[in-house]
C-alpha cells in the first residue's frame, strides 16, 4: 500500500510505472519523482534537467541526471530505449512541445504526460471576474516570472493527441486532494495521461466539458 503522504500526482504516476523498468524523466527538476520511483519501484532512473541548482539536488538524492535542454537533448537515444518516459509539468515549459512529445514517444515504450489545466474553474473565474491572468495551485506563477511558455487545457491536449494519432491509454484528472471524475476540464487542476504511439485513433470521449 502506498503511503498517503506521497503527492497525489506522484501516486498516480507510480501506478503506471512497472517495477524494475527503465524511466527517463524529461525536466526532472530536483529529482523528487525519480527518487520516489527508485525507492518504491526499484527503477533504473535517468533525468534530464536544464537548471544546475536542481541538478545539485538530484545528485544529492542519488539520481543520475544530464544537464541538457530537452528541446534538443533526445536525438542520442535509440527508439524505445526506455520503458517509460515522463513529461510531468514540463511540456508546457519547452519551446516546442510538439517536437518534444514526438521524441518522447519515439524513445519510450510508454509516455506519461502531466499538464496543468488552464481551463480549471478557478482560472476561468479569475480571468472572467478580475480580468487578470490566473494564478492557481497548478499554475502558481505571475505573468512576468512564469517558466510556462504554453497554456493549454485538458481538452486542448486530448484534441492534439487525436489529431496526431497519439493513443491515450488512460487519463487521470486531479483536483486539490482527490481524483476528479466529472467535468475534468472544468474541475481538475492537473491531468495525467498515459500515451502510446501506435497510430490508432481510439480517443473516445475521455473528456467532457
Amino acid at each position: 500500500m502506498l503511503n498517503n503522504s506521497i503527492r497525489l500526482d506522484y501516486r498516480i504516476i507510480l501506478e503506471h510505472v512497472e517495477p524494475s523498468s527503465s524511466v527517463l524523466d524529461l525536466g526532472c527538476g530536483t529529482g523528487d519523482l525519480l527518487s520516489l520511483l527508485v525507492r518504491e519501484k526499484n527503477i533504473k532512473a535517468q533525468g534530464i534537467e536544464i537548471d544546475d541548482k536542481a541538478i545539485f539536488e538530484c545528485v544529492e538524492k542519488g539520481v543520475g541526471v544530464f544537464h541538457d535542454d530537452i528541446d534538443t537533448g533526445l536525438p542520442e537515444y535509440g527508439d524505445k530505449s526506455f520503458d517509460t518516459v515522463i513529461l510531468h509539468q514540463s511540456i508546457q515549459q519547452v519551446k516546442r512541445p510538439d517536437k518534444v512529445l514526438k521524441e518522447a514517444l519515439r524513445v519510450g515504450r510508454k509516455v506519461i504526460v502531466g499538464i496543468p489545466n488552464f481551463a480549471y474553474i478557478k482560472a476561468r473565474f479569475q480571468i472572467f471576474f478580475t480580468g487578470k491572468v490566473p494564478v492557481t495551485p497548478s499554475l502558481p506563477y505571475e505573468w512576468h516570472n512564469t517558466p510556462n511558455l504554453h497554456f493549454l487545457s485538458l481538452v486542448d491536449f486530448v484534441e492534439y493527441c487525436k489529431k496526431q494519432n497519439i493513443r491515450i491509454e488512460s487519463a487521470c484528472f486531479l483536483g486539490k486532494k482527490r481524483k476528479v471524475h466529472i467535468f475534468p476540464n472544468l474541475l481538475a487542476e492537473v491531468g495525467i495521461f498515459v500515451l502510446a504511439d501506435d497510430k490508432q485513433s481510439e480517443n473516445t470521449n475521455i473528456i467532457t466539458r
Partner: protein, 397 residues
C-alpha cells in the same frame, strides 16, 4: 540549496585550516628487464619507477580505494603538506578529512605519470643502457601507457577494484582510459573538464609550447642535462599554457589593464600586471618541470583518442561503472561540448551517468579552484557508489 552550498563553503574553509596532514612520497619500481612494460608503440621500457602518495586508510576488503589522476604538470603530491618541502598538494582543497574525496572514508592514491619528472620514470631519468639521462632516447608514451603503468602500481597495492578513478583535464583522459582499458577494475568514473580527444585548437596550443622549447638553443635536441637548461623556451610554453587555463573574465578580474608598480625606462620589459604574472609563472616553471617531459606529455595527450575513430558509445558499451561528468561554462580550452560528447556516449551506451556544466568564470583552471559545487557533486556521487558497491568501514588493525 543556496544555503547548503554556503554551509559547505564555511565547512570547507574551516576544515582546510584544521586538517593539514603531512605526507611523504613513496616509490614503486617494476618492469625490470627482462619483464619490461610493453608500450603502445611496441617499444619496451624498464625498469619503471612510479612516485605515488596515499591518503586515508584501505579497508579490510580493499574496496574503498580511489585513484586520482593528475593534469599535465601535476604530480603525485595531490593533498596534505609534504614532509620535505612543506608544499601543499595540488588538489588539497578536494582531498582530505571531510572533503569531496574524504580521507576518513576512502583510501586515496595519486601517482606521477609515466613520462613525468616528479619522481616517476621519464626523459630525465637515467637510461640503464647508457648510464645517462634518456633525453630523446625516451620512447614515445601515450595516455594508455600511463594507465598501464598505474595498473602495475594498483596490482602492487593488491587492490583488485578501484571505487573510483577521477581527474581533471589530462587526469580526466586517464580516468576515461582506465575504465575503457580495465572495465572490470573500476566501479565509477569522474572525468572533469576533459575530452575524449584533442581538438585541433588544443593540439595547436601544445605545438606552440613544444616549438618554444625546441627553439631554445639550450634545448640541444633534448640533450641538456647537466648543462644550461632551455629555461626560456619552457617559460614561453608555460606562459601560453597559463593563458589557455584562464578566461577573458578571470584575466580581467585578476589583472585588468593595471600596471606593475616599478617604473622603468621603456625597453619592452613587463609593464602590465598580466605580463609580469605570466613571466613570473613561466620563469619559475624550470625549477619544477623538465622541458623534455613537457614535450613527451603534451604529445601523449595530443595523440589521445579514446574512441579511435569509432563511435565513443561503441567503446563504452558494456561498461557498468556510473559516470559523473563535470565541465565548466567558461572553460574554452576544454569546452563543455567535449564533456557533453562523453555524456551523450553514456546515454547511447546505457551507462548510468550524471553530467553537469558548472557556472564558473575561471576557465579551465576552474577544476582546481571551484571547490564547493564540485565537492557537492562528487561527495554525493561517491556516497551512492559506495552504497551500491557495499563499501564497508572495517579496517584491518
Amino acid at each position: 540549496m543556496e544555503k547548503s552550498i554556503v554551509n559547505t563553503k564555511q565547512i570547507n574553509r574551516k576544515k582546510h585550516q584544521e586538517d593539514s596532514f603531512t605526507v611523504k612520497t613513496q616509490y614503486y619500481t617494476f618492469a625490470s628487464p627482462p619483464d619490461e612494460l610493453e608500450l603502445e608503440s611496441g617499444r619496451k621500457l624498464g625498469p619503471i619507477t612510479l612516485a605515488y602518495e596515499t591518503y586515508g586508510r584501505l579497508n579490510k576488503q580493499k574496496s574503498n580505494a580511489i585513484l586520482i589522476l593528475h593534469a599535465l604538470t601535476g604530480d603525485a603530491h595531490a593533498a596534505g603538506i609534504h614532509e620535505e618541502d612543506g608544499q601543499t598538494g595540488w588538489w588539497d582543497n578536494m582531498i582530505g578529512p571531510g572533503k569531496a574525496f574524504d580521507t576518513e572514508k576512502y583510501f586515496i592514491i595519486c601517482s606521477n605519470v609515466l613520462g613525468g619528472c616528479k619522481g616517476s620514470t621519464g626523459p630525465a631519468s637515467i637510461n640503464p643502457r647508457t648510464g645517462k639521462p634518456y633525453g630523446l632516447e625516451f620512447p614515445l608514451i601515450t595516455v594508455k601507457d600511463m594507465v598501464n603503468a598505474q595498473r602495475c602500481l594498483i596490482d602492487h597495492l593488491e587492490i583488485n577494484k578501484l571505487l573510483a578513478v577521477a581527474g581533471g583535464s589530462m587526469g580526466g583522459m586517464q580516468a576515461l582510459q582506465w575504465v575503457v582499458s580495465y572495465p572490470e577494475r573500476v566501479c565509477s568514473v569522474i572525468p572533469v573538464a576533459t575530452t575524449i580527444t584533442h581538438s585541433p585548437q588544443q593540439i595547436a596550443f601544445n605545438e606552440v609550447g613544444r616549438q618554444a622549447i625546441m627553439a631554445d638553443p639550450n634545448w640541444n635536441d633534448g640533450d641538456y642535462y647537466g648543462k644550461d637548461l632551455p629555461a626560456k623556451g619552457l617559460s614561453v610554453a608555460r606562459m601560453v599554457g597559463h593563458i589557455t587555463y584562464m578566461s577573458d573574465v578571470s584575466m580581467n578580474e585578476k589583472f585588468g589593464r593595471r600596471f606593475k608598480n616599478e617604473k622603468k625606462p621603456f625597453k619592452f620589459s613587463p609593464e602590465f600586471e598580466v605580463e609580469g604574472y605570466l613571466q613570473y609563472r613561466g620563469d619559475n616553471f624550470i625549477s619544477r618541470f623538465d622541458p623534455n617531459s613537457y614535450l613527451y606529455i603534451t604529445k601523449a595527450i595530443d595523440y589521445f583518442d579514446l574512441a579511435n575513430g569509432n563511435g565513443l558509445y561503441a567503446v563504452l558499451k558494456g561498461i557498468k561503472a556510473p559516470f559523473l561528468v563535470i565541465s565548466f561554462k567558461s572553460d574554452w580550452l576544454y569546452p563543455p561540448y567535449q564533456s557533453q560528447e562523453i555524456a551523450r556516449a553514456c546515454k547511447l551506451a546505457g551507462i548510468e551517468a550524471t553530467y553537469c556544466e558548472l557556472n564558473s568564470n575561471y576557465g579551465h583552471d576552474a577544476f582546481l579552484v571551484e571547490v564547493d559545487e564540485q565537492t557537492h557533486m562528487i561527495r554525493h556521487f561517491l556516497k551512492k557508489v559506495s552504497h551500491s558497491n557495499k563499501v564497508s568501514e572495517e579496517y584491518a588493525e
